[in-house]
């Protein structure tokens, strides 16, 4: 177990380093390189050359990478010229709101998707299964911004019961104090995740239902509910832990679009604005951060796997 954790830690470390390498390469892919990134699109060639010399950007790439990496390690993600603020503080402001959105929607998705998947597996190839499958396919196939707009049309325009825009505030408390404004964004993001998770849960339960140990449990006289709850559910949930870790990037991508649709002042919106103003330090900073979060997420998922599955725990 300790060995397993150690090895996973080492792997994660390698992946994190690779993430920084990729971002570093992206930074240098920019026409004009990091100078253009810092000084913005209107900078003159002269200013860029000056800046490069001043910042050491004319030194060998490896040296530059090392400098950049040590800066990163101390939390310096760069400076946004257009917003005149350090990237770290910008992210610090926006991150909690994105977390509210993603955590709420993921929890909601799990609460809905797990029972749905179980129902589908139990009623496999019956009407209920086909219905859920149909909607899962439809929601999966709907671009999230389209879904968001449809929800707005239905719930804000035709039956004006919910606001079309998320609460606007820089304070998390204000946002949380207007829960109605959060319903549509959370729902948009959740519907997409539900579609995926319920499909996954369905096949996981179907697979476990076919295992010999289920037949053994039935031969002991266990009823279907006991078989499902005590035997199948737990074993089927184990892979969901991994899926959760792997889905983090997809959830963040979804949040990016959802925030744009509902004008929700989170990290995704920050990224979007940055993309439109070509504010590269913000974009790269967020990418590094999300990459890190994903690596940590899948590490935690694997550890959860190890705790949940005794075959790994005692290996």
């Amino acid at each position: 177990m300790t060995r397993f954790i150690l090895r996973r830690l080492l792997q994660s470390l390698v992946v994190v380093l690779l993430v920084t390498v990729i971002v570093f390469i992206l930074l240098h892919l920019l026409p004009g390189g990091p100078a253009r990134a810092q000084l913005g699109p209107k900078a003159t060639a002269m200013a860029i050359a000056n800046f490069n010399h001043q910042q050491g950007y004319d030194r060998p790439l490896l040296v530059q990478y090392w400098r950049w990496l040590t800066e990163l390690a101390t939390g310096n993600l760069g400076f946004s010229v257009s917003l005149n603020q350090s990237v770290l503080s910008l992210i610090g402001e926006r991150l909690p709101k994105t977390l509210v959105l993603t955590v709420l929607s993921t929890l909601f998705a799990l609460v809905v998707a797990i029972p749905l998947g179980v129902v589908q597996a139990v009623r496999r190839n019956r009407a209920a299964d086909y219905m859920i499958t149909f909607w899962a396919f439809v929601f999966y196939a709907t671009p999230p911004f389209f879904l968001g707009v449809v929800l707005i049309v239905v719930f804000s325009v035709y039956l004006p019961i919910l606001p079309a825009e998320a609460p606007q505030s820089s304070s998390l408390r204000v946002i949380l104090s207007q829960p109605a404004g959060l319903i549509l964004p959370v729902l948009t993001l959740a519907l997409l995740t539900i579609a995926q998770f319920s499909r996954y849960m369905r096949s996981s339960v179907i697979e476990n239902l076919a295992e010999d140990y289920v037949r053994t449990a039935r031969s002991k006289g266990a009823g279907e509910s006991v078989v499902l709850v005590r035997h199948v559910l737990r074993n089927s949930l184990i892979p969901i832990a991994t899926l959760l870790g792997l889905s983090l990037p997809a959830i963040f991508s979804g949040a990016l679009i959802t925030e744009a649709v509902f004008n929700f002042p989170g990290m995704g919106q920050l990224f979007w604005t940055a993309a439109q103003t070509q504010d590269y330090p913000i974009m790269l900073g967020i990418t590094v951060l999300v990459g890190l979060a994903t690596v940590i997420g899948s590490l935690l998922a694997d550890l959860a796997y190890a705790v949940l599955d005794p075959r790994v725990r005692f290996a």
Binding site: V15, F137, I206, V290
Partner: protein, 314 residues
Amino acid sequence: MSTEAHSERVSRNMDGPDADAERNRAANAEAHKRSRLVRTLSTFLENRLAVVGVGIVGFFLLFCYVGPSVYHTDQIHIELSETTLAPSLAHPLGTNEVGYDQLGRLMVGGQSSLEVGIAAALLATAFGTLWGAVAGYAGGVIDAAMMRIVDALLAMPALFLLLFLSSIARPNSGLLILVISLISWLGPARLVRGQALTLRTRDYVRSVRLMGGGPMRAVLRHIAPNSIGTVVVNAPFQVADAILTVAALSFLGLGVPPPAANWGDMLSNGINYVYDGYWWLIYPPGLAIVLVVVAFNLIGDALRDSFDVRLRRR
């Protein structure tokens, strides 16, 4: 939409239990009578949902490629006297904010969406397959290094990378294809690598070496043909995801510049008029995307069922 969530769709047999010798035997006898291709095809066609999927894709191919030669419209010159007209006999789906006929635009835009989706999926699948096969067959340090690169790219949300890449250069269809496949080869790479790892230890691959054959023969004659199923099954999902990605990029303001168009651009343009009641600018392209993506997913699901080894043995 990133591809990682699809790994489950391909890796698992959804048809459930079959530990049952009687059932196998009876079905085996039946299997003798029919060739494999016919059986694969018929299992596929038996799946009514798959037929629906093929039907939808076929319809849109006709609509987008044959449609414009039947229904002529001008999709190049803007017509400011005819902006945002509601559907009428002259314009069955109305016109948009610069006067293009919406129905005609749906046809032209569909060409672009389908082409980008399919081309990106093919490119990503080809590259991912190669990467995964090499990693899986090589094993050891090479495998570890190659797969950590995949992990690192998977750790970055695809949209973020895409947004970054396409903000460097103004996108056109060619660039979109390249950029999307740059992100989506990771799924097939992982799948094929997993497949290669297991195939490498199969008795029939081992036997090649015992007959004096080299690794080239093992890969080309045995590992590649046996992983093709996985790759083929994954491809429709890749197309579906690529079409969704194009749409997302359009919404984020990184679509192809007019007069070129794709469904994503049309949809995100239309959304600007959501409060004006111009529904014909929103729902037709939105529905087109949903229908095509659902169709490709249905095809992928059915392909998996008919390729599945455990099902094939019956």
